[in-house]
Symmetry: C2
DNA sequence: TGGCCGATTTGACATAGATCAATAGCGAAA
DNA sequence: TTTCGCTATTGATCTATGTCAAATCGGCCA
């Protein structure tokens, strides 16, 4: 058996009743200074907090389905989600993974354009969409934050198109691991131990590959000494420059 | 030689000097009520018009390159553009095509995330990015229009990911033609005669295929009686339900 | 601790689409 | 109108990845 790693990031959901009566529950939010809320001052946050409804979600449960009326926006407080679209015959494309602090519900018009499903026990903060839209004119900081989020998402969607349209299986896999490492690092130091809350099948559906190809690819990266598999679905990046070489984009 | 089609949409660029001195040049703009400007009232348009600089572009010329400082936003007044990203070894992914009325310059942060190149002689309206950003707080209608645009783009990027990750060559091609037909139709009646300002190579780079596969695919759709090729790079959709069947998404 | 069940890995083979290689078509210039 | 050069089409192979199938692993529950 392999070593357990030092700091296993178990998801510890803050207790629902942890909010002090009368105080602003958002103020104590775990993602207070990462999510969209980060750009708001205390009085603005106060306004939002009245609208927010937290909710917990078990593995495999969906937040909403593609085609549902898009009446809510969400902030992911803890856990991880996958977003996906389906073809009628069941082929699936995962368009993204969400982690704590991420925003959910962009890309709506009237209906959600994808299904959002929990990869692990997760907690969300739910906001009524129309109310938020109503607040935007009075909260230009919020509006511009949303616009920036949308731009960032768009840029990363375009990067993903390049990956899906033009990269080989190995390149896709290496790019994916590096991308994950960078996202999990946030603004801190680059991270080399990555947790994979998603299955090989999910990775395949994200990269436009089959489970088998993903598995073979992981094995090959491992044999090349670029990564190592750790207990509990962790991957350790052992040779970042090497992995970047395989990823192929500059 | 085959028939010329009835209404060959030659690009006729309005003469640059067509603006009356003293009047608002935007008021007479060809895309006045399609582009982002459509949500603005006359006084707001007046403010913008002072910032706008028109410019013409020949086939093959670029508006900007991936990595350039993103200091301008653009509205495409006439013509067509392709947007693409490159890998170091020259592999290319076209992330989108733009037509008259479309907005260009979303998906910026500090640098453009893709190169924009003219597919035909085109005219653009250029706006300084920082000035526009400064106006957003005072023009919530413009801000919300941009947000909506970004959402729409995002949704279509996700649809494209599904196409690139999970569809067969024939499905991609059929989807592409239907998508083009719908875009060119705008809000009017569905269109069945589609102009293709882009080469087969461009279509391939958009769909994640090679030129040869695109060409074979077109031939196959033609043999099946779903489409017909017309003079001057036009394609006529002859059996829309049939084509939708091939496209495969519901 | 042992047994089960789904997830992962590995292997053998099939194929959609890529690659390499000729033509054939078509538009611009002379 | 003819020619030239690029673009598109078609054909003959090749290969990366998909498909089918069989272990093997690993987590969870009794």
């Amino acid at each position: 058996m392999k070593d357990a790693h030092p700091t296993g990031p178990r998801v510890t959901l803050p207790h629902p009743a942890a909010k002090l009566p009368g105080s602003n529950p958002c103020a104590a939010c775990a993602v207070r200074d990462r999510a969209i809320c980060a750009v708001l001052d205390d009085s603005e946050l106060e306004q939002l907090s009245g609208l927010a409804r937290p909710s917990d979600l078990d593995v495999g449960r969906t937040v909403f389905f593609e085609g549902d009326d898009a009446d809510s926006l969400y902030v992911l407080i803890a856990g991880a989600l996958k977003l996906y679209k389906l073809l009628p015959d069941g082929r699936r494309q995962i368009t993204g993974f969400l982690f704590a602090g991420d925003f959910l519900g962009l890309a709506f018009n009237e209906e959600y354009q994808f299904t959002a499903e929990a990869l692990m026990p997760s907690r969300l903060c739910r906001l009524p969409r129309t109310k938020i839209e109503g607040l935007l004119p009075e909260m230009p900081k919020l509006a511009s934050r949303l616009l920036n989020l949308a731009f960032t998402e768009l840029a990363s969607a375009q990067t993903q198109m390049l990956l899906l349209g033009r990269k080989t299986a190995q390149e896709r896999l290496a790019s994916f691991l590096l991308h994950l490492a960078d996202r999990l690092a946030g603004q801190g130091d680059p991270v080399s131990l990555i947790h994979l809350p998603m299955s090989r099948a999910d990775i395949g559906d994200y990269l436009g590959l089959t489970v088998e190809t993903v598995s073979r690819g992981v094995t090959k990266l491992k044999s090349a000494g670029l990564i190592a598999l750790r207990d509990g679905n962790y991957i350790q990046i052992q040779d970042r420059p090497g992995l970047e070489g395989v990823a192929g984009d500059l």
